[in-house]
């Protein structure tokens, strides 16, 4: 989008933050708390903690909160009044410090939530969100963005992409119109990138491509009925929802009525009773079937129906899993399995 690479120093970034806030935006960035780093509201870049390879939880709550009101209702004398959710009170937000995988994940979320019909709430939040991603200069053994079409310096989904130049400065790439709008009037804070600063590639982490998603997809389809394979893969899985909840592209949800409001909240296909019928019949009574569903949905069904992979290789599920269900390890096993 912007042919000219520019750079900004730490002080300039601080001023940018103030201007964004003065313009009515809240800023979400990774912040350290209780030995975990997660997205929270910050005032200044100094509060942001970009040290860890990745945050524990994703930033998806900015567009798909853990709980949100769909509408309100009031029952009186057998009649019901409904009050539509006012979208005007949704905050304009800058998401700062997400990794390229997280920026790409927003498209994955949109693929689910806007499939076939638009999800008004999600779309409204997405519309008000500007994404300032930061390239990865380090990765760990859980990362596999390059296997799923991403990369440590990929621009997909960001509005601005920053790369750490050291000393508190960043290379700035303007990726979209929204990114350009974020920098409007900030010419005084930016200067053209000079010399070595322009070399983004050499600063990026090396993330080796480990598998081909097409091959995984084909293998998954032929492995579907292999009960032994799925049971072996999932014996130690406890069926908690940690993987789905920390995942930036998981969007399964529940709907609950409470105290005059209909709420939407996160749910997980890994939970034992996710598919339970009122009759007591459960289509997926075994953890092996639920684990299989996770992989099938992300790597087979979504590519086929929503034409998007349901995974960006951020590795959060693997890091969060209390029993080391490392998804990369499982995908490699799938790719190499003989059906």
């Amino acid at each position: 989008m912007d042919n000219e690479l520019r750079s900004i120093d730490h002080e300039g970034l601080g001023t940018l933050f103030s201007r964004w806030r003065a313009g009515g935006r809240r800023i979400l960035a990774p912040r350290r708390e209780n030995e975990k780093t997660d997205f929270a509201e910050v005032q200044a870049p100094g509060e942001a903690c970009l040290d860890p390879v990745q945050t524990a939880q994703s930033a998806k709550s900015a567009v798909f909160p853990r709980v949100e009101e769909l509408f309100a209702y009031r029952r009186r004398d057998g009649l019901v009044e409904l009050r539509e959710r006012d979208l005007a009170d949704l905050p304009a937000t800058v998401l700062f410090g997400v990794r390229p995988c997280d920026a790409a994940a927003l498209a994955g979320l949109a693929a689910i939530l806007n499939w076939d019909t638009a999800d008004r709430l999600f779309s409204a939040r997405r519309e008000k969100l500007a994404v300032v991603a930061v390239s990865c200069t380090r990765s760990d053994e859980r990362c596999f963005c390059t296997s799923v079409g991403g990369g440590p310096g990929a621009r997909t989904g960001s509005d601005l992409l920053l790369t750490d130049l050291g000393g508190g400065g960043y290379l700035v790439e303007t990726v979209s119109d929204r990114g350009r709008a974020l920098l409007a009037g900030a010419e005084d804070l930016l200067r053209p990138a000079a010399g070595r600063e322009k070399d983004k590639e050499s600063r990026l982490a090396r993330v080796e491509k480990r598998f081909d998603p097409e091959r995984v997809r084909a293998a998954l389809q032929s492995l579907f009925d292999d009960e032994v394979f799925w049971t072996e893969q999932s014996l130690r899985c406890l069926g908690c929802g940690a993987c789905a909840y920390v995942c930036p592209t998981c969007a399964c949800f529940d709907i609950q009525d409470e105290d005059g409001r209909r709420l939407r909240c996160w749910d997980s296909c890994g939970h034992a009773l996710f598919t339970l019928h009122t009759s007591g019949h459960n289509p997926r009574p075994l953890q092996s079937q639920r684990w299989r569903q996770r992989l099938m949905h992300k790597f087979s069904y979504m590519p086929e129906r929503q034409e998007a992979l349901g995974c960006v290789g951020c590795g959060r599920c693997s890091r969060a899993c209390p029993v080391d269900m490392d998804i990369l390890e499982h995908l490699l096993a799938v790719a190499e399995a003989k059906p």
């Binding site: 708390e33 209780n34 030995e35 975990k36 997660d38 524990a56 939880q57 853990r66 709980v67 760990d140 053994e141 859980r142 049971t231 999932s234 014996l235 130690r236 406890l238 069926g239 908690c240 929802g241 940690a242 789905a244 909840y245 920390v246 529940d254 609950q256 409470e258 709420l263 909240c265 996160w266 997980s268 939970h271 009773l273 075994l286 953890q287 092996s288 693997s318 969060a320 209390p322 029993v323 080391d324 490392d326 390890e329």
Partner: protein
Amino acid sequence: MEALRNKARELLAAGTVKVVIGYERGSAGAARAVFVRDAARAGSLIFDETCRQNLAVYLMKPEVRRLGKAALVAAPAALRTVLQLAAENQVQDGGLLLLAPENGGVAVLAELSAVEARVAAQDPEPGREEREELARYEAMTLEQRRDFWQEQFARCSKCYACRAACPLCYCARCTVECNQPQWIPVPAHDLGNLEWNVMRAMHLAGRCIDCGDCSRACPAGIPLHLLNRKLIAVVRGSFAFRAGRAAKSDNALSTFRPDDPEDFIR
């Protein structure tokens, strides 16, 4: 470790057990659960300071139960768990073998009385760090505790990793999964989070054996073990009862005797 592996090989080869539930080396240097059914694979078993998960959680998992009679590689917390599960009629005496690694060897505990003896012998009191952490917590006023937990639970997303990791949370249908009535709200708002975490701690009062897996499992890093530890101290103080010490015991909060003190009822 070799003694453990040999014992596992022996038990599997003889058909004494169908599966050895133990630890193997996982990714990123961590240990993780392994279910060895073939004596030839017993070499993957390890036991060291990275082996912290309470493997007793798998004793209540249907997919593992159907593998057949099991031997469980048991760290001290798992031993206490087995006794508490036995006290709750979930584990039969003689229905399980426990392999307790020790001093380069491995003790095989086939009967619950042996497990009781071992737990009594080990019976560690909380270490200095633990006591200090609890003391800091107890030094907080009720208002401070309320604020503390409100702040902590604000990060809870109701993923139920704490429930899934806890070997004593084995209800086939958790109270939060009942909707007639919906006792505990499902969504992860402040009230829902508070009610869930406090209710779970209450359901574990007098039963929790303090393995700490709940805290380790929590993706948000909430120190859930503090709630449980405090309740353990309260139950010990009020009922002189400690869970996970006897294969036959009454539940502290649901056992009533006519001569129970009543002076607090006004």
